[in-house]
Subunit: 263 residues, 2 copies
């Protein structure tokens, strides 16, 4: 059997230590191609570049086939899938290891998870990894070992019935991590407290800052797992429909129809 083809990307950029750690993991299992942003892209969500052209440049990255891209994390995956690896089948896409959490609602702001989601949309099994440590010199030892374990399992067993995992890892030594929890996305949101200031020309600016508020006290959430020393694994999709709300909104369909027709 030929080695699996593994695409590795991230949102912290081609120079991030977390990317290097994940490439190390991927190299143990398959042929690796790296396409990562040429600059940090945290908080880019599922943004794509429509109004300007993209650049793709080959870079030195140990002995790995690696490219930096001028666009967003999602752009990286689109270019990898549709240009660089157009005639091949990508067996797995790994994104990260992100410097900082992507649990709970952070999944929708996260470039790391959006890159992995884009690959999953195109039919590729994908995993986003994040370590709960924002520091450039964070210790990826435990995270690397955990990523290796999960990648091995997913390569053997696949990912039915979903194509994407959101894996978050507490910032603890391996011996203090209690295990893993397959769980749901916890409900929370951010309360913003914009920092206001004056620029050197005396013009007012606002700079985003905020704090996360947990609104979910279930013990089956990623928030709970991480707070209790577990790795969280959330099977993640892209169907945003609130299916349970469809019946109670049907009234809208009738009344609105009448209004339009007879006004």
């Amino acid at each position: 059997m030929s080695k699996p083809l593994i695409l590795v990307t991230n949102d912290d950029g081609i120079l991030a230590p977390g990317l290097k750690a994940l490439v190390g993991v991927a190299s143990r299992f398959g042929e690796v191609v790296v396409v990562a942003p040429d600059s940090p892209q945290s908080g880019q969500g599922h943004a794509i570049t429509l109004e300007s052209p993209l650049r793709l440049r080959k870079v030195h990255f140990d002995d790995i086939d690696a490219y930096e891209c001028s666009g967003t994390p999602v752009d990286c995956v689109k270019l990898a899938k549709n240009v660089l690896l157009k005639d091949r089948t990508i067996d797995l896409c790994l994104s990260g290891i992100n410097h900082g959490a992507n649990s709970s609602i952070n999944v929708i702001y996260s470039g790391t998870m959006s890159a992995a989601m884009e690959a999953s949309l195109e039919g590729v099994n994908s995993i986003g990894f994040s370590l709960l440590d924002y520091n450039f010199d964070a210790d990826f030892t435990a995270a690397t070992s955990i990523a290796e374990t999960i990648v091995e399992q997913v390569l053997v067993n696949g990912l039915p019935p979903c194509k994407l995992l959101n894996v978050n890892i507490p910032s603890l030594p391996a011996t203090e991590i209690k295990g893993m929890r397959v769980c749901r996305q916890g409900n929370g949101s951010w309360i913003e407290d914009f920092q206001e200031g004056l620029d050197p020309r005396g013009e007012k600016y606002y700079w985003l800052t905020g704090r996360f508020v947990n609104k979910d006290h279930g013990e089956d959430t990623d928030i709970w797992a991480l707070a209790n020393g577990y790795v969280s694994i959330v099977p993640t999709g892209f169907d945003l429909t609130v299916h349970g709300a469809i019946p109670s909104l049907k009234y809208l369909q009738e009344s609105a129809f009448q209004k339009i027709m007879y006004k």
Copy 2:
């Protein structure tokens, strides 16, 4: 009863005709505040601006309280909620009317829907409106009438048990629109066909282009509704968990745990 406070935003920017149409609708029902990007932000998804400061400038917009913002659509909503309207309660957030479809998977790339989703995350009932016509001079007559009908209903009845609607409107005269369908997000994706070229300095570039592929032949989807002359209304949320996948992935939790502990 005091008039409801309605925040209006979009992703096509403060000058887009679709925004003007939606402000017209909102003005019939409440006090309106507009915060919209100062430039087009299509495809920005749920991107937020972390690495640079944001600007907010008051602009002339008929007799409406209106601001242009230097950031993404989600930044606009965060600034509106947490700076401009910090001490007030926003009763409804309207986003659009977008020039172009945001049905099916487009919801995750869409700045229009991400802005509305951000407001819903912060507890505000929200509706994103999109017209299936990309032209600057698209005819918003039917779309305006439909938006008015839906806004009226939502102000009266609220939106339980969800807080966000994704409304897409076919590009047809009002008399040819068959009605409305409350439906689920159809499954589809984009096949990209990057245009490759050389810039004036002879350097290679890639420019994103693609075509949408419908993978869903259900008659209960937004794709079906729009193709058959109906307005589509999808109740939309932000829980990306694939709940049905949790039980079958539990094996991962056990085996991975063992591996880590005993390796």
